[in-house]
Symmetry: C2
Subunit: 319 residues, 2 copies
């Protein structure tokens, strides 16, 4: 659920007065998203998304996120373009929150991933990586490898309640992953959370990428590993190598992965599975009963982790 902060109509009217985007027509909360409050905003001129940034986002990094989206949109990535007010400022204040208006993207995110989605997804990810090259600022990935140890420490107390032995399992796997973590692969700006609900399709074509609030500067191939985790496993937990081939093929047609990047896929996939297992475990352990957000099962990613720990090379992913 994604309306944590309510906006009064008079505050909204005053806020819109700071923009030159037409008069209000409609304003509805959007159900998708768990980090921020998102509203669909229609004016007499166009459709927009109004986002109020909640605590889960790194508020200090909002200018970086906004700047990245502007840069990507200007370099051919179909992503939300932050809209500037009359004074040229895109990041503003509303209802006690930092807030921004972005353009609306048409399309529907795939509730059920099909093979046909995976090549366009890979290609769009590669385009994002290339388009991001000119954006000079960098952002440390706080949910990257050096964040996983602290996350595990804060969650391990509740791990065995989720699944007996889970604390040991993660504690054993983490140091092995960190020890094998590659250091000499190409770095750039990555989305870092390109799950199906952040990718829109329309008429069989990929029509947009959204939600850049986990984006960071990190190994490009790690972003590929996140997508292999998020797009190529079936509901029964099995890896669909046809989807993996399509994803890697789509990526490589736009940006050819280096041999070292391909060779690192098993450990990068292990790390990506660890990252989502840990944040889900953290949320599971630390979400108070009755809270607004639905907790996601950490075991979905623990099972992916087990698969990746047995992978030998990129060929296990269709590479």
């Amino acid at each position: 659920m994604a309306v944590f902060t309510e906006v009064t109509d008079d505050a909204l009217a005053a806020f819109l007065d700071e923009y030159d985007i037409g008069g209000m027509v409609a304003f509805r909360g959007i159900a998708e998203g768990v980090q921020n409050s998102n509203y669909s905003l229609r004016t007499t001129e166009a459709d927009f998304i109004l986002t109020l940034y909640e605590e889960r986002v790194d508020l200090d990094d909002l200018p970086w996120f906004i700047g990245l989206m502007e840069h990507l949109a200007q370099h051919g990535v179909t992503c939300p373009l932050p809209v500037r007010g009359r004074d040229g400022v895109a990041l503003r204040h509303l209802a006690g929150r930092k807030a921004a208006i972005t353009t609306f993207l048409p399309g529907v995110w795939p509730r059920r991933v099909r093979q046909e989605h995976c090549a366009p997804l890979g290609a769009a990810l590669a385009q994002l990586h290339i388009a991001g090259q000119g954006y000079a600022a960098s952002r440390h990935n706080s949910l990257g490898p050096d964040g996983w140890g602290p996350l595990l420490a804060k969650s391990i107390g509740g791990a065995d309640e989720v699944n007996p032995g889970l604390g040991d399992e993660l504690s054993t796997a983490l140091p092995k992953i960190l020890a094998a973590w590659p250091t000499n692969l190409p770095v750039g700006h990555i989305h870092a959370d390109l799950f199906p609900d952040n990718v829109f399709f329309l008429g069989g074509q990929l029509s947009g990428l959204i939600d850049f609030y986990f984006a960071a500067t990190d190994l490009l191939a790690y972003d590929v590993a996140v997508c292999l985790n998020a797009w190529c496993f079936e509901a029964d937990g099995s890896f669909n190598i046809t989807k993996g081939q399509a994803l890697l093929g789509g990526y490589n047609r736009v940006r050819q992965m280096q041999k070292a990047e391909l060779a690192a896929l098993p450990v990068l996939c292990q790390g990506a599975a660890m990252r989502f297992a840990l944040t889900r475990l953290y949320d599971w352990v630390n979400t108070p009963p009755g809270a607004f957000v639905t907790r996601k099962d950490p075991m979905d990613y623990v099972r992916r982790l087990r698969f990746h720990l047995h992978a030998n090379s990129e060929t296990d992913y269709g590479g």
Copy 2:
């Protein structure tokens, strides 16, 4: 949060093929609403709302609700118009649920009620009551007076946890309200849940009424009492008689309330406060921790009930 049921894109595409409303452009879950799953649906032709009916709605009564909305929309009420498929059927099936597409209404619901909202609201309610006259079918109000005793019985076990003494307070008030309940007032189709989040405004005008899934055939003046409860109390619990005057004035300009209806306002308001106190209490007691919906504080309506129990006549409401 109002997406309880996810719709796969292929199921959605097949569903839309049954309509003649253009091709898909966008599809987003809507945050508002607690009964059903609502999606904002844009096609190449227009905007619509897709609703999947969940268990909280009386599913057997869906044809009645759909018929009422059609009737009201055809008689000048700006409410969602159910859209029929190519076969003429409006109530269909999707993702294991009954489902319907309705037209999209522009506007924004008032997060903070101002006095200027209350006269248009009263007038729109009266128009709804008049427009409903020609709809022949009737629907028993399952959340009307004869439903309150059973609701209290199912919730009283947890009442004192919400507020010490609350069980006794409600048990004492309910029989008095039922004994004084009027029987000879005008009956018609009522909205029965016309809270601010079900009323849109645009440019200072009321632009639409939504969410008819509590509508029923009952005392028209009871609907007025529901609105006095929902629109005319301030956050501190005080009744704003200026808002009450505006609401009743707006109503009376369109449909003049009878003397007997006005005289019954205190007990009707007591009943309306009891109804919402009881459903909120029921939800509070019966909503499992971690559930998807936010529980609303029953005490907001218990405090209103206390006010109404001390009201002497319609003049206490601005009538």
